[in-house]
């Protein structure tokens, strides 16, 4: 080895063979991991792009506002779209209050004992139940036992129980983000626990709760199995373009179910039709999620504590 050109206390800073070997394996690992991540990201972009490309000829406002005709072989998706809207709104109306109050319990009222642990475990398990088992539950409990029959009500209740964990998790996070000091200030002026929650904690977590609600809506809109046997049907005639199409105890069509039937049960469907349905469903769900994410990011930036 040549002596160094400059005086530096006798230390040689050139890379040794060991260092070079470490750097090479580091770069190799980095490339492999980047490839793995890329292979995960690519499908999302490719899927959305391909679906939009195939559905392009049929996407229009008319597509959204006309009913399916000729045994689903032409026409639009108005009745499934309306059905999905009904299902989502009713399930939200049931799941949101229950979920928010359950999260309030877990965060504000529950002590650190075995009951709380069981409740947390139950929420996790509820989130992991297969969707077809939710369908079986809805069939057994709402359609048969409660006697509601196959209807929008039964399907919405099934969806509500399925999406409950989403709201509970998001609300719990939102409530936990409110600093303890806020609550302590309330207790210092003599407020009861519920007064604290209602006047201070909940108003400060509204945006977090909203993200949970949006996530719930997107999940409820996309699910097929739970509604397949509890209220969604192959076809139901509904007046085009009007918002009052279904009654609470009617059966309904739904966007997710419609996609399933026209891609597997109906022969000779023109190519663009199922793609169009898929694009509308996927687009709605992704848009809702994007709004939820954007809301969350804006919250974190705006928070003053």
């Amino acid at each position: 080895m040549r002596p160094p050109a400059q005086f530096n206390a006798g230390v040689d800073f050139r890379a040794t063979r060991l260092t070079r070997r470490k750097q090479r394996s580091e770069q190799a690992a980095r490339a492999v991991l980047m490839l793995m991540t890329g292979l995960m990201v690519a499908p999302l972009l490719l899927i959305v792009g391909y679906l939009v490309y195939q559905a392009w000829p049929i996407l229009s406002l008319d597509f959204l506002l006309t009913n399916p005709k000729h045994g689903m072989r032409s026409g639009g998706i108005w009745s499934p779209l309306l059905g999905t809207v009904y299902l989502v709104l009713i399930s939200l109306g049931v799941a949101a209050p229950m979920g928010v109050l359950a999260a309030v319990f877990l965060n504000e009222y529950a002590r650190d004992n075995w009951l709380t642990r069981i409740v947390n475990l139950a929420v996790l398990n509820l989130a992991g139940v297969p969707s077809i088992v939710h369908a079986l539950f809805g069939l057994g409990a709402f359609v048969l036992f409660a006697g509601i029959g196959r209807s929008i009500l039964a399907a919405s209740l099934t969806l509500a129980i399925m999406t409950l964990p989403v709201i509970i998790a998001a609300t719990k996070q939102a409530l936990a983000a409110v600093p303890m000091a806020f609550r302590e200030a309330c207790w210092n002026v003599g407020a009861t626990r519920w007064q604290t929650v209602w006047h201070i904690v909940l108003p400060n977590s509204v945006s977090g709760i909203l993200t949970g609600v949006i996530l719930e809506v997107s999940r409820a809109a996309g699910e097929t199995a739970p509604i397949m046997f509890t209220g969604a049907v192959f076809f139901k005639a509904v007046k085009e373009g009007s918002l009052a199409g279904y009654g609470l105890f009617d059966q309904c069509m739904a966007l997710s179910m419609h996609l399933f039937t026209i891609s597997t049960q109906v022969p000779d469907v023109p190519k663009a039709l199922p793609y169009g349905t898929a694009v509308v469903l996927l687009g709605t769900v992704l848009a809702l999620n994007a709004v939820s994410i954007a809301l969350r990011v804006r919250l974190r930036a705006r928070r003053k504590w």
């Binding site: 470490k22 750097q23 394996s25 580091e26 690992a29 980095r30 991991l33 980047m34 793995m36 991540t37 292979l39 995960m40 990201v41 999302l44 899927i47 391909y50 209050p97 229950m98 359950a102 319990f105 409740v119 475990l121 139950a122 996790l124 509820l126 992991g128 139940v129 297969p130 969707s131 077809i132 088992v133 939710h134 369908a135 079986l136 539950f137 057994g140 036992f145 129980i161 409950l164 964990p165 509970i168 009861t192 519920w194 007064q195 997107s218 996309g222 097929t224 199995a225 046997f229 996609l259 399933f260 891609s263 793609y275 469903l281 996927l282 992704l286 999620n289 994007a290 994410i293 990011v297």
Partner: protein, 305 residues
């Protein structure tokens, strides 16, 4: 309200106390709702299938025979082994793809990637998680099907490979986000100690982080398995309809979930066939329950360290 003095509290209307107690009771009720629903799901699904379970359920035939002929008029057989093999094969293939890619991507996102890409990648993972199951099934039918037929020359592209890849893409987000949490939970002192010894980032990941986050990564894999085993619509549309034990990746199979979804519509109400499907539902519920319980215990193992 009476005016408070130093030695007595201001008078509070009795109905305010009652109102507070009522609200608290409601909150506690909602809090245990998740537990009630988990038990309810088990109860109502079992109730519908109890007829078969107590009369006519042959353990050896159910778990050991591949002859699934529920609609045969002369010789009814309920051998679910082929269905269990179907679920197992699709889940195994999906996990062998999703676990390495998921952990690799999580490593990349948390250790190797530049800070400005981190948020974008996490958003992409969340959007990937939001894609509805029926849209994935649709992609399996319309994209993967011709692709597999062209690449491997098989007569039909709906098989274990198709279903496995689709389910792998569906479980990736779960594995990535939980692995990322596990890697983030490794104490900073570990990283600092390793960096002080002069390791590269890959050496840090491979020799320090992965072993330290072992429990969390295991939990991530378990939850991925639970998600894959419980998947319904995507496998219904993408794996074909052959009730047999697969001998190669190109074989069509039927999973437990797809069987319920496909046959429940046609089984006469309360018939033995109908009840068997509910018992399969109980089987699925038990599998995912055990998986979620194990994952929770494993995670608790980390927290107690």
């Amino acid at each position: 309200m009476g005016r408070g003095t130093v030695t007595s509290l201001p008078k509070r209307r009795w109905w305010r106390h009652a109102g507070e107690a009522a609200i608290e009771a409601l909150i506690r009720l909602c809090g245990i709702s998740a537990v009630v629903f988990v038990f309810g799901i088990f109860f109502f699904v079992f109730r519908e299938g109890a007829g078969f379970f107590f009369h006519g359920f042959k353990f050896r035939e159910f778990f050991g025979s591949i002859e699934w002929y529920p609609t045969s008029e002369s010789h009814v057989r309920y051998g679910a082994l082929a269905l269990i093999a179907g679920t197992a094969s699709v889940t195994l293939l999906a996990m062998s793809i999703a676990v390495p890619f998921g952990i690799g991507a999580a490593l990349f996102i948390s250790e190797f990637c530049a800070a400005r890409w981190k948020e974008t990648l996490k958003v992409v993972v969340e959007l990937l998680a939001a894609i509805p199951s029926v849209v994935w099934g649709f992609i399996g039918l319309t994209v993967m099907n011709p692709l597999i037929m062209k690449m491997f020359g098989t007569p039909i592209g709906l098989n274990v490979l198709n279903g496995g890849v689709i389910v792998a893409l569906m479980s990736l987000p779960v594995i990535v986000s939980i692995s990322e949490d596990a890697l983030k939970a490794v104490p900073d002192s570990y990283r600092e100690a390793a960096l002080a010894l002069g390791v590269t980032r890959w050496q840090l990941s491979y020799r320090v982080l992965l072993p330290a986050a072992r429990n969390g990564l295991l939990a991530a894999a378990l939850l991925g398995v639970g998600r894959a085993a419980g998947e319904t619509m995507a496998v219904l549309m993408a794996t074909g309809h052959a009730v047999k034990i697969p001998t190669s990746l190109m074989d069509s199979v039927r999973t437990l979930t797809a069987t319920i979804a496909a046959e429940l519509g046609e089984a006469p109400m309360h018939s033995q066939h109908y009840q068997v499907l509910f018992i399969i539902g109980i089987l699925l519920f038990s599998i995912t329950f055990v998986i979620n319980l194990t994952a929770d215990l494993v995670v608790r193992g980390i927290r107690s360290q």
